[in-house]
Symmetry: C2
Subunit: 305 residues, 2 copies
């Protein structure tokens, strides 16, 4: 290994992006690399070259560099399928890791499996590693881990295990509707009206079916009452997140919630949860992912040593 | 007027398409013309040339050919704005018709206004003419006219007036989600599983928040249980239509419903309404539109004669 080079590499290989962290032997981050080579842009034989290109300068002259990878690289359409582990089971993701065959002997890659739930059918890939990261700091946590994002996950965590979970397409709807639906005329852009967000959350929490009944109203408010794009956009977000909270209340009601997601989005969920009578703590998403990958690396090294 | 030429032209100028019907003096259809020149593809000065190109062969040597037009041609972004009439008001759409200035003296165009509702904010353009068409055959109808489509409208009709209405984006969601969301991997194509549709309608009618909670499950069912594209697609439709019916129950519960829409879609709504304990009659959409335009033509001719 080059002096000062990484001891191992933590990797989060998502649908659209790959994030790498070069780690030293003590678990500190030497460097972070972001690349737009997610699963959706790669063929199966494109993963190893993509990784080699990004790590070329830090590959060891002798031996190999371990890469611990969570996310979509383990999907059936990814690099090497890591079959889902079925809940209830520990979040810790080293068990069931798969190792793709590589051309280059200077790399050794392990891909962590996701979780599945048979009924109601649900799947996750990557978030299980974040949940393991949460539990690294709070091994006795009994509550809910909510991971807001394109597909927001709510995981019921008890006895050190993931007992069950539920996915909502809220983030994807918030991305799609202002781009592809009639709301593109009323809710595009990046403006934001915080009061409109809070009102819409309250409406979604108190009125059943507020989302279905309210979507076209966003457009009509813009036509008839000149509601601004920022107001429409914040109302749409509030209707979506409020409806998600109403639908997920059986999971989080009366329990502590730990939120792990991009900062602004997690703050919206936290605010809405408080409006709904819940309580949530925000955790840093990157630290949590890294903690989960650190735990997996440690467990895999113990297996092989 | 050329011998055997039309006495007037009925026009439905929508967002994506223009439909014209050449009418004889007795109100019979001589010919139907479909053209892909909807509002979304035209600048303001493109409407007259588009119409002239389609009607060139039937324009009169002397006098003018009346064109009665409903739909998006009257929108603020359309040809000539026909300001919304506010409910409660009669559906009959001749009142408030606007006349764009034309270059060619052989045409005389009247554009019928849509309806608006101030609170909750809602708008329609074109459907008011179909409602007027329904009332032409049933002037004393007291009930609900449901117009399924991209933006499904539910109109509360009583005392010969539209008392109020509500729009749902159900059709647009059903179009968007299998094309642009993660469901494109599971619900694309045209296959259909009728039993899955019925189950999903039942679920949406009985479980609050079934839509929000169920969307990602369609994808997970495909991954874990190899649910077919036809099953996912029919479930998505059932979740959407069932959720719409649940959200609109205050409108249609205990009242007769007349459905006006594309045949297959109207049949799905009818089936779902029966499942939900309602009763609906299906009316032919084209006949209904034409009846509304006939009524408007008659009223406008009386005004000008």
């Amino acid at each position: 290994m080059a002096e000062g080079g990484p001891a191992w590499v933590a990797a989060d290989w998502g649908t659209s992006h790959l994030r790498l962290w070069l780690m030293d032997a003590g678990g500190a981050v030497l460097r972070r690399i972001d690349a737009p080579c997610g699963m959706s842009r790669l063929e199966r034989d494109g993963y190893e070259p993509a990784l080699l290109a990004l790590l070329e300068g830090v590959l060891p002259a002798q031996g190999h560099l371990p890469v611990i990878c969570c996310g979509m690289a383990g999907a059936a359409q990814g690099w090497c399928e890591a079959p889902y582990r079925e809940v209830p089971c520990p979040a810790a993701a080293a068990e069931g890791a798969v190792e793709p065959e590589l051309e280059d002997p200077r790399l050794r890659v392990r891909i962590l499996p996701g979780l599945c739930q048979k009924a109601p059918a649900d799947v996750m890939r990557g978030e299980e590693t974040q949940i393991a990261g949460v539990l690294l700091g709070s091994p006795d946590f009994d509550g809910v881990v909510c991971l807001p994002g394109t597909h927001t996950k709510w995981a019921d965590v008890r006895n050190g295990e993931v007992a069950g979970f539920k996915t909502f397409m809220t983030g994807e709807l918030f991305d799609l509707l202002p781009r592809h639906s009639i709301l593109r005329h009323s809710a595009a852009g990046a403006d934001w009206d915080e009061a409109a967000f809070e009102e819409a959350v309250a409406q979604a929490l108190s009125v059943p079916h507020a989302l279905m009944a309210g979507l076209f109203g966003l457009r009509a408010e813009a036509i008839l009452n000149k509601a601004s794009a920022g107001t429409c956009r914040a109302r749409l977000s509030g209707l979506l997140i409020g409806s998600e909270l109403a639908a997920a209340r059986a999971l989080w009601g009366g329990r502590p919630v730990k939120l792990v997601g991009e900062h602004k989005l997690a703050a919206l969920y936290q605010k809405a949860l408080v409006q709904a009578g819940g309580a949530a703590e925000n955790l840093d998403s990157e630290i949590t992912t890294l903690n989960g990958l650190r735990a997996a690396y440690r467990a895999l090294e113990e297996q092989t040593s």
